[in-house]
Amino acid sequence: MTAMGEDDLLARVRDLIAVFDPTADPLHFLRARFDAGLAWVHFPVGLGGLDLPRTMQSVVDSELGAAGVPDNNPRRIGIGLGMAAPTILTHGTDEQRRRWLRALWTGDEVWCQLFSEPGAGSDLAALGTRAVRDGDGWVVNGQKVWTSMAHEARWGILVTRTDPDVPKHQGMTYFALDMTSPGVEVRPLRQITGEAEFNEVFLTDVHVPDSDRLGDVGNGWRVAQTTLMNERVAIGGGTAPREAGVISAVAAAWRDRPELRSASKHDELMRLWVHAEAMRLMTMRLRQQLAAGVPGPEGSAAKLAFAHLNQEVSGFELELLGAEGLRYDTWSTGSWTTERPVVVDFLGRSAGYRYLRAKGNSIEGGTSEILHNIVAERVLGLPGDIRVDKDVPWKDLPR
């Protein structure tokens, strides 16, 4: 097809809005949107897209937003949209793409990520969940951890060890796992905040058909790289206003409650305010670079700075509040009772929650220590660490 212009695209969006029935299940509308190629316009025709540049998505989104039609609640299905979908598109067969992408995008089927293990965190390539050939499929045994949404997920993207006799990066194979299969057990993992955003997933003699394999046998690490590269690609459209984020809670407390103020706290408050504003401008500059077609490595700086700042600001907030900081009120129950939040909301919660949840920011999605290595090696060009495990068969690694 010839490239579609903005007017043609808008006409297509309006045709879709015209058939919207507010009394029907929102899923009907979302499926119609997918079938019209208006789900993610940069995807291929027939798979929810129109082969258009990614930038034209905003035309669709703003028109649909103005019309007030239902969306697919992207925060709930972030792992599917951000990680599973690009992986399926890149490494899946035509049949796999057709089978999974539509229900993934509409939110009909939630996806989770089965990567980390108790013995494979920063060193993900050391993972040991075994998949063994069994007739027309595979039998999987092992344990995964830090799995958001596993309790709601229909599918999981799973990396397994299929050949223990070769060095760790070579013997892995990537699958889509049907979470309803016998032998899949999901247990909530209670975390530092008292609640359970994440899960442990135990896999015991789980049968996976070979048709659910993504990419070649032994090529799992390369497929996983596609997933991980997409983890941090998505930076939202607009620039956040000044004093957005956790600094807003502290600034509000300072403004509303003069009795909390002191000279030394003021200097600390302003030091943190300066860092928050510097980070905002840095992110704004990064977006300008992306828009100008010259992406920089500043994304790594943003992740490091975000984690550090959140921890410093939320720690200061408790000190500012004084005795009140001794109370930890969770969002609905007024206790440490386990909850299952779907999304992390820093601002709708107590200062104590912010302080504790921020501790995860320097661990999840790549620890700050690993990110420091990445900056040092890939940005500054410093020599890599001496790798003692590079040429050793996975089964012989000390653990």
Binding site: R261, D267, A278, M282, R285, L304, G381, P383
Partner: protein
Amino acid sequence: MTDLLYTDVEEHLRSSVRDLISKRSTSAEALKRAETDEPYDPALWQALAGLGVAGLAIDEPLGGAGASWREVAVVAEELGRSVAPTPFLGSAVVATAAAQAAGDTDLLARMASGEIIVTLAASLAGTPHAAGAAGLALTGTTLTGSVTNVIDAITADVLLVPVRDGDAVSLVAVAAADTHRSDVASLDLTRPVSDLAFDNAPVTIVAEGDAAQRAITNAWLVGSAILASEQLGLAQQCLDMTVDYVKSRYQFGRPIGSFQALKHRLADVWVSVTHARAVARYAVACVTDGDADATVSVSLAQAYCSPMAVTAAEECVQLHGGIGFTWEHPAHLYLKRAKADSLLFGTAATHRARLGGLVGLPPQ
């Protein structure tokens, strides 16, 4: 949206200045000059003036290059990178900003042509409202008294002197020939300070009253913004030098840059330089556009960039180990400049306090 990137014109200017400096001014030469009677390099300044740097921000009808503070900031980055001893900050930035606000076209035209170098005869470590507050008396058109810790006075032909008498403030011009100057041993070897004394020195009145205060305030505003870019360039150079060093220095049979204890510290410097670039670009863009956020942006820039540059220079010294502590290695020139810069136009703590008032977060 405020443009935080560099334009093609700015990048072109950067490479011209960098090219010129790399040919004419090495840190070894700056070091050699530092302990002579001529710490500034007049040939370097003339060559920079040939590129239009002396009158970069001065309007074209007056003989300047008609550029904006954004371009001036890019030159400041490059001069910070090289700690080149030039009167750029004093003359092409601070005195230019004061003369522009005062509308002194005669002075600006002579600066643009390279005929004269001008500096503001006040300690830039103070506030714009303290400038000229003590030790000076203006009687008719003669000036008597003294000012201490003035930057770029060594090469200045004309001194712009703020003088305060109670609430009345004036800005007057005095010829260097009518000034007694004593150069002092300065913390910053590549931007030394001097003490000045006037004994019935004849003056020309440049501005009086509110106009004089506006000129002084503008000098501080623009100076703070441009200094942030100098601090950015200095920090980037400290980072680059240190990265090169730890790649080539071997201990324990491997480059020391392969040790995580060092890598992580350098990654932290890179992260803060990355922030500083956005902050410094924002400040010069706001000052150039006369943005309502200009005063916030320059205090933010100074509150962030001053400690950032000091840390980058301190890490440079430490990660160079023994050689970084020698007089022979240029690391100390950067440390001295960074620390001295952190005192100009107010310390980071001063700017944090000011920001509190500006953004509705009062101290009490």
